[in-house]
């Protein structure tokens, strides 16, 4: 029975109690576990603002049945880096001016981390395709692509 279950979020076991049937992972993260970084907008997998990692795979939190994610590793934007010490991707988004209203940013940060793990030197085409599930209505994407490329270049330089 799933009224009570445990999710592994950002390295910690988190208990979920009195959950209703069909609650999405996004809902549980925000409304039951207080992790408000993942955003909810379309609730149908089209905007990507709820993107989180599930067993290292980028997924839409709104389309994951929370009770079905028992035993899987969940990483949210809160788990990417400690407060006050942004990851290289987060810092690059700031430096490149890739953040305007900021609503889409957590999802894009998760998508960018996921992309660069799998493909350290992506082409612009690859970046556009890989980020195609994350909608931004402010920036026009140019500065977001710039931010991704900055991280890729900096990581290669650091090796």
């Amino acid at each position: 029975m799933s009224e009570f279950y445990v999710l592994h979020v950002n390295g910690a076991a988190r208990e979920v109690r009195d959950a209703a049937a069909g609650e999405s992972l996004l809902f549980v993260l925000r409304e039951r576990l207080g992790l408000m970084g993942s955003k909810g907008a379309c609730e149908q997998g089209e905007c990507g603002s709820c993107s989180v990692l599930l067993d290292d795979q980028l997924v839409c939190g709104c389309l994951v049945l929370a009770a079905g994610a028992v035993g899987q590793r969940i990483v949210t934007i809160e788990g990417v880096a400690p407060l006050g010490a942004p990851s290289d991707v987060q810092q690059a988004f700031v430096d490149a001016g890739a953040v305007q209203c900021g609503f889409c940013t957590p999802g894009l940060i998760m998508a960018t981390h996921s992309l660069l793990e799998r493909s350290p030197a992506p082409s612009e085409m690859e970046i556009r395709e890989e980020l195609s599930g994350n909608v931004c209505r402010c920036t026009g994407y140019g500065r977001i692509i710039d931010a991704v490329q900055r991280v890729a270049v900096a990581r290669r330089g650091a090796q």
């Binding site: 029975m1 069909g22 609730e43 149908q44 997998g45 990507g48 599930l54 997924v59 049945l65 079905g68």
Partner: protein
């Protein structure tokens, strides 16, 4: 309410026996859209995305068997993409990377929307769908599995366990029309598969009928009029092929498009795919 995460076929069948009306969920990318919108209430759920037997594929020479739990991300990448390019191209147009990481070919079959991106390719490949229950297994040609819009031949208690497709020699492609390039449900879609050894051209249409439509007249016309040896088709042959595709469509007007536009679109796409398959005049 219960959510049971099955990790083997035996567990999945046991869960289904205990909860015959349970909703079967793999990636959840169709079900959760309806749940979030309040259009579907789920009580008992059996998760099948971690059933080991379903998450494998097997290539034995002439055939490829894809377990129902194989994801679109797996299908769009090597080696599966090299064996069934039509499914790989379709996979690349399924939702976004987020959707493709969890969405499965079994889920596409289970939902069985006429707009399902994987379905025209499966129809064109003459795929065989495998179903299983504690009573045993049965296999159905795709055309008998999909019986209407979002209606399948699966009965309560059965699981879609996989699909078998041939690995063919010859060009394959999938094209669809929608309002934008990414993240879009097909307004009209076309899959074309050539079989150089069997000297056939197979054409299947999506989103223009209650099921995926095979265009047998266009296929027979192409087989008789293209030059397989030289990869050639005349402009007149491409034009007639497109006209036969248009004639085979049975589109409707709905919130996504008009019947007239859909009929026109499948003609354009069919002609374009035949030209790509046979690039010489």
């Amino acid at each position: 309410m219960s959510v049971i995460v099955a990790t083997s076929l035996a567990e999945a069948f046991a869960a289904l026996s205990a909860h015959p009306e349970a909703t079967l969920v793999a990636g959840g990318t169709d079900v959760m859209v309806e749940v979030n919108a309040g259009h579907r209430h789920v009580a008992d759920v059996v998760m099948v995305n971690r059933v080991g037997e379903l998450c494998t594929w097997r290539h034995d020479g002439a055939m490829l068997h894809l377990g129902a739990g194989v994801t679109w991300s797996q299908i769009e990448a090597a080696p599966i993409a090299e064996w069934v390019p039509v499914l790989a191209q379709a996979a690349r147009t399924v939702g976004s990377p987020q959707i493709r990481h969890v969405g499965t070919i079994g889920g596409n079959l289970g939902t069985c929307s006429p707009a399902g991106d994987g379905l025209p390719g499966l129809a064109a490949l003459d795929a065989v769908v495998h179903l299983a229950s504690p009573a045993g297994e049965r296999s159905l040609p795709f055309a008998e599995f999909m019986v209407g819009p979002k209606r399948t031949a699966r009965v309560a208690g059965e699981l879609i366990i996989g699909v078998t497709v041939p690995v063919l020699r010859g060009w394959q492609g999938y094209s669809k029309v929608g309002v934008r390039n990414a993240m879009v449900i097909a307004t009209a879609s076309v899959a074309l598969v050539t079989d150089l050894d069997g000297r056939t051209v197979r054409l299947a249409l999506g989103s223009v009928g209650p099921t995926i439509l095979r265009c047998t007249e266009a296929e027979a016309f192409a087989a008789a009029n293209v030059d397989f040896a030289n990869g050639a088709a005349s402009a007149a042959v491409v034009s007639e092929f497109a006209a036969l595709a248009r004639a085979a469509a049975r589109p409707i007007d709905d919130h996504r498009s008009t019947a007239e536009y859909r009929r026109h679109a499948v003609g354009v796409l069919a002609g374009r795919l035949l030209r790509r398959a046979f690039p010489n005049e």
